[in-house]
Amino acid sequence: MNPQALFVAFSTIVVREVRRFTRIWPQTLLPPAVTMTLYFIIFGNLIGSRVGEMGGFDYMSFIVPGLIMMAVITSSYANVVSSFFSMKFQRSVEELLVSPVPNWIILAGYVTGGMARGLGIGVIVTLLSLAFTRLQIHNLPMVVVTVFLTSALFAVGGFINALLATKFDDVSIVPTFVLTPLTYLGGVFYSIDLLPDFWQGVSMVNPILYMVNGFRYGILGVSDVNPFVSLVMILVFIVVLSAIALKLLARGKGIRH
């Protein structure tokens, strides 16, 4: 396929993905908006007013970057895992497999589709947060780069999950038992300075801590970890997971007999 044909194939996958999640917006766009609004009201307003300052900022301002990042992570992941697994389940993935689309275009298309939903949710949650607090961007490039890379990373993760999943239960296991605990323990609601030394050490091996703090640094200018180390870590994870995803695709894992 020539570069123009490759671009057509890539954009076909992306447009299909965007149309899919916008067609079922009550399942894809509305729930995170509702959930995050509840977080803002309960944790930010009601409980936050009694918590006081965190990291030098009022509690609402402190948790907003973490909540935005949480929404981006879960949506990017969920979009790819559910979409690609549904295609496997309905066997419509065969439409792609019989076509000349190269594996890297398939991966890029699905990851971009996942990013479109993840970043779209990020924008929605950011706009909602403006009803509760004022956002002052400390470092815009850092905000943009961190949120883009994090979204891409979890979209790739969702793709691998979808390839390995053999039943619908497998699609929800990772988000429920891995992503959610890591996100909650990744400094969304607190600074790890509050933890005893041992648990601070444990937190440092949680990759989501770096993403949340990198993003928080971009918005507030404060972080529990070096924000540039965060970026490097995200990039390394993207490269490693993409290589795994391409290897699985080439082997036909879960999609070819």
Partner: protein, 316 residues
């Protein structure tokens, strides 16, 4: 003439250890209408699955219009259209979208894809349903949708795996006409089918696969010439109490008093009728008991052992 499909020494062993293909050689010429026949589990779908990249082969070579799927997979796929056995489209997408999205996967821009989609949806009688979600279509419409989707990028080789399974007779006939027209226009067609009548009506060359081996690969004419015995069903004017004795022929009364007569190759049917006339039996209609190809197929498959050698004979 170019070969549309060349298969050499193709083997497939699944993870469970089941050996689905045991070294298949097959060649389909450009412009052919070719049938791959075999009982369930014989290896038909595995063979076609490997050609279409839905199944990974264990060993062997596959070329589509000269493009080796190991080294030029993309070029091979560009020449290939696939209609699978089971519905494999997104049931929630609209008919027109399913076809144009498939074109997009082949790198065809939307404008051009829309023209091609309109052409094939109209030819297959689905244009009125273009904005209908696929799940709302009848079974026959879904089959036609898969054919339109397979043709949208104008492939030179069309592979159909049981294309008329579960389709009523009228629709099956109209699909036959469509496929014959496609073949006349130059598209090479390979199909698998359980309706041997379908293979007999449409195909010029036939391969029979059993236990993962090709047991026959020849022209339909050659194959049918090998029939040594046919059974004819004779409807008599008045019902017979018992089967008459006919010199040189086996005969018996079948269901609903129909007279069944076995006629071996070289025997003249006139002798049957003259003897019946002498006995005062008036025949009002006659037909063959079963599809000729079906009889031959059953005999071949029954006599096949896994060790059978593949045979390639004269082809049209």
């Amino acid at each position: 003439m170019t070969n549309a499909l060349e298969i050499e020494g193709l083997t497939k062993t699944y993870g469970s250890g089941f050996e689905a293909l045991k070294g298949i050689d097959l060649c389909v010429k450009e412009g052919d209408f070719f049938a791959l026949l075999g009982p369930n589990g014989a290896g038909k779908s595995t063979t076609l699955g490997i050609v279409c990249s839905l199944v990974t082969k264990t060993a062997g070579k596959v070329k589509v219009f000269g493009y080796d799927i190991d080294t030029h997979l993309s070029d091979a796929k560009l020449n290939l259209g696939v209609v699978p056995q089971e519905f494999n489209f997104n049931q929630f997408e609209k008919v027109f979208d399913i076809v144009t999205i498939q074109a997009g996967y082949y790198g065809i821009p939307l404008k051009k894809a829309a023209i091609s989609a309109e052409k094939y949806l109209k030819k297959l009688g689905l244009w009125d349903k273009r904005n209908t979600p696929a799940r709302m279509l009848s079974g026959g419409m879904k089959r036609r949708l898969m054919i339109a989707r397979a043709l949208v990028h104008e492939p030179k080789l069309l592979i159909l795996d049981e294309p008329t399974a579960g389709v009523d007779i009228e629709l099956r006939r109209s699909m036959w006409s469509f496929l014959e027209e496609m073949n006349r226009q130059g598209t090479t067609i390979i199909l698998t089918t359980h309706y041997l009548e379908e293979a007999e009506a449409l195909c010029r060359n036939i391969a029979i696969i059993d236990h993962g081996r090709i047991v026959r690969n020849t022209s339909k004419r050659e194959l049918l010439q090998q029939l040594s015995l046919e059974t004819f069903l004779l409807d008599t004017e008045t019902p017979l109490a018992k089967a008459p004795h006919l010199d040189g022929f086996e005969c018996r009364l079948g269901d609903e008093g129909v007279l069944e007569v076995d006629v071996e190759k070289g025997q003249a049917l006139n002798h049957v009728f003259s003897q019946l006339e002498q006995q005062g039996v008036k025949v009002v209609s006659m037909r063959t008991k079963a599809n000729r190809l079906e009889e031959l197929f059953i005999r071949m498959v029954e006599s096949t052992t896994p060790a059978a050698e593949s045979i390639t004979e004269g082809r049209e």
